[in-house]
């Protein structure tokens, strides 16, 4: 723990009788937290990796249970819903699998990040580390899990190679993930704080995610939606974020409207995060 920096952090004007130095603003302190959170990447990477490893510590297949359970879910869903909707499996199966991969990342970020600070309570109260570090830990954990999950797309790419292709657009996965990560941190901090302050938020977020799953075209194709109801997906940020993953996985060209939506959401998130984090950062520990 580098206390030299914390010293200036915390506070404070050196009160030597009458000399009062300029005190860093809440905004500066929040920014400092975010910066040192980034700098300590080795620590949160270690913790995130540890989290994944721990969950499967005593099982033979270890973290590959993540892949297996994902595979079972998406393949059986793809088969069942493909028949239920009478859709062409050739197009439906890859669409669903890629969509589910995107959705599982985004939804787990949402629900886990709301609990990120409350679950780290004992550490927060024991060792001074930047709050953003705990957000990175959870966000990174979910990204690691995503990379385990992504393996289930490989058989799809092999079997349905006419629909799901690996091409130039596949590279868009990288900026897509990066955008999701940035939003995970900014919204994660906001949700984490809300979750710490109001313990009901976790339940609310979890049930909202359930609803969002059905409102977002993951199981159903957006083309099925009549023209007049298109607004359901047009104004649905989940759709845009799922598309950030789904389009590159299928090797298709993402629509520009997606990026417009993502940009708006990202800017809003960063703004919201800085506002709230500046204002309430110092209070977080008292909420836990």
């Amino acid at each position: 723990m580098n206390i030299e920096s914390v010293a200036t952090d915390l506070a404070s004007p050196l009160i030597n009788d009458s000399v009062v130095l300029k005190q860093p603003s809440h905004y500066q302190l929040a920014l400092k937290d975010l910066m040192s959170g980034l700098k300590k990447w080795t620590i949160w990477l270690m913790l995130a990796y540890q989290d994944v490893k721990l969950r499967y510590r005593r099982s033979i297949l270890g973290p590959f249970w993540i892949t297996i359970s994902m595979a079972i879910t998406v393949y059986s869903m793809g088969y069942l819903y493909g028949h239920l909707f009478h859709s062409n499996l050739q197009t439906y199966f890859p669409f669903l699998v890629a969509g589910m991969l995107g959705w599982s990342l985004i939804s787990s970020q949402f629900s886990d990040l709301t609990e990120a600070l409350t679950q780290s309570e004992s550490l927060i109260k024991q060792i001074k580390l930047p709050y953003s570090l705990y957000i990175h830990r959870v966000a990174m954990r979910n990204v690691i899990i995503f990379f385990h999950n992504i393996i289930v797309i490989i058989p799809i790419l092999a079997i349905y190679h006419e629909v799901a292709k690996v091409n130039f657009y596949s590279l868009m996965l990288i900026p897509g993930l990066l955008l999701i990560y940035i939003n995970s941190i900014s919204y994660g901090l906001v949700l984490g704080m809300l979750g710490a302050r109001y313990r009901d938020i976790v339940q609310i977020v979890k049930s909202l995610i359930q609803v969002a799953f059905f409102l977002t075209p993951i199981m159903w194709n957006p083309i099925l939606l009549p023209e007049k109801d298109r607004f359901i997906i047009l104004f649905n940020p989940f759709y845009s974020f799922v598309e950030l993953i789904r389009a590159p996985l299928l090797g298709s060209k993402p629509e520009w409207s997606i990026f417009a939506m993502v940009t708006v959401v990202t800017v809003l998130g960063i703004f919201l995060c800085m506002r709230m984090f500046s204002k309430y950062r110092a209070r977080i520990v008292y909420w836990l």
Partner: protein
């Protein structure tokens, strides 16, 4: 040179989840000794520390005494920069190592060695420093081959040994200790004691919260008596202990 300066520092906690207001006021006053007030939003606030001005300098070995809930742990957490003052200013110069609560952060599924690495990293050691000190830490725990076993197989005494050894491996300027003596068997207590003494001697400032008069007189050259979140006395250890006991 390490230095701690508190300038009229207050820490007030909001307390949520309490429904019956009249009872809780009564209860909190009884249990915490802190002053219970309401803020503008009608949240109940506990003033755990109230308008404290202090200065600790190089060479200070401060014993922190006071009844349960007098603010000892809050003050330690404040000095560890975990709590930020809700009013006033806190200035700290020097590297801090808090030894507040040893157990949390232990992963019971992981082995002793893995825990040494994780805890070491969390407390700001680099991987290299941990490698260099791993043998020393292992030696201090006295756990031998158990260190390669998952911590869940340990007895509680063994866990304390491990946790203590990790925390004690950090060489801080400012050492904050919250009642951690007295765990483990006689052999370990002796070892821990020696390690503690060497730690105390290496640190520039030590703040030690304890209920043991013996420890205060043995280790400390100053004592700080807290009462209901305020400084009752700060200075000579004997005098502080006298005031503390006469009052009680």
């Amino acid at each position: 040179m390490a230095m701690i300066n508190l300038h009229s520092v207050s820490v007030a906690f909001p307390v949520y989840n309490l429904n019956s207001r009249s009872f809780k006021k009564y209860f909190l006053r009884m249990a915490t000794g802190g002053k219970v007030v309401e803020d503008a939003n009608k949240h109940v606030m506990v003033k755990a520390l109230n308008n404290i001005s202090l200065r600790f300098e190089h060479g200070d070995r401060v014993g922190l005494i006071g009844h349960n809930g007098s603010g000892k742990s809050t003050l330690l957490r404040l000095l560890a920069t975990i709590y930020e003052p809700t009013a006033g200013h806190l200035t700290i110069q020097g590297h801090i190592s808090p030894m507040l609560d040893l157990m949390p952060g232990m992963e019971t599924e992981l082995t002793g060695y893995e825990n040494i690495t994780i805890r070491g990293r969390l407390q700001g050691l680099t991987l290299q420093e941990i490698k260099q000190q791993a043998d020393e830490i292992a030696e201090l725990t006295g756990l031998g081959d158990y260190l390669s076993m998952p911590v869940r197989t340990y007895s509680s005494g063994m866990m304390v040994r491990l946790a203590f050894a990790i925390s004690a491996s950090i060489k801080p300027d400012i050492l904050l200790i919250d009642e951690i003596f007295g765990a483990g068997d006689a052999n370990f207590i002796e070892k821990a004691r020696q390690k503690m003494i060497s730690l105390l001697n290496q640190s520039s400032i030590v703040v030690l919260a304890t209920h043991s008069d013996e420890l205060i007189t043995e280790f400390c050259n100053k004592a700080l008596l807290l009462e209901a979140g305020q400084v009752k006395f700060f200075g000579d250890t004997e005098k502080a202990l006298e005031i503390y006991h006469n009052k009680g």
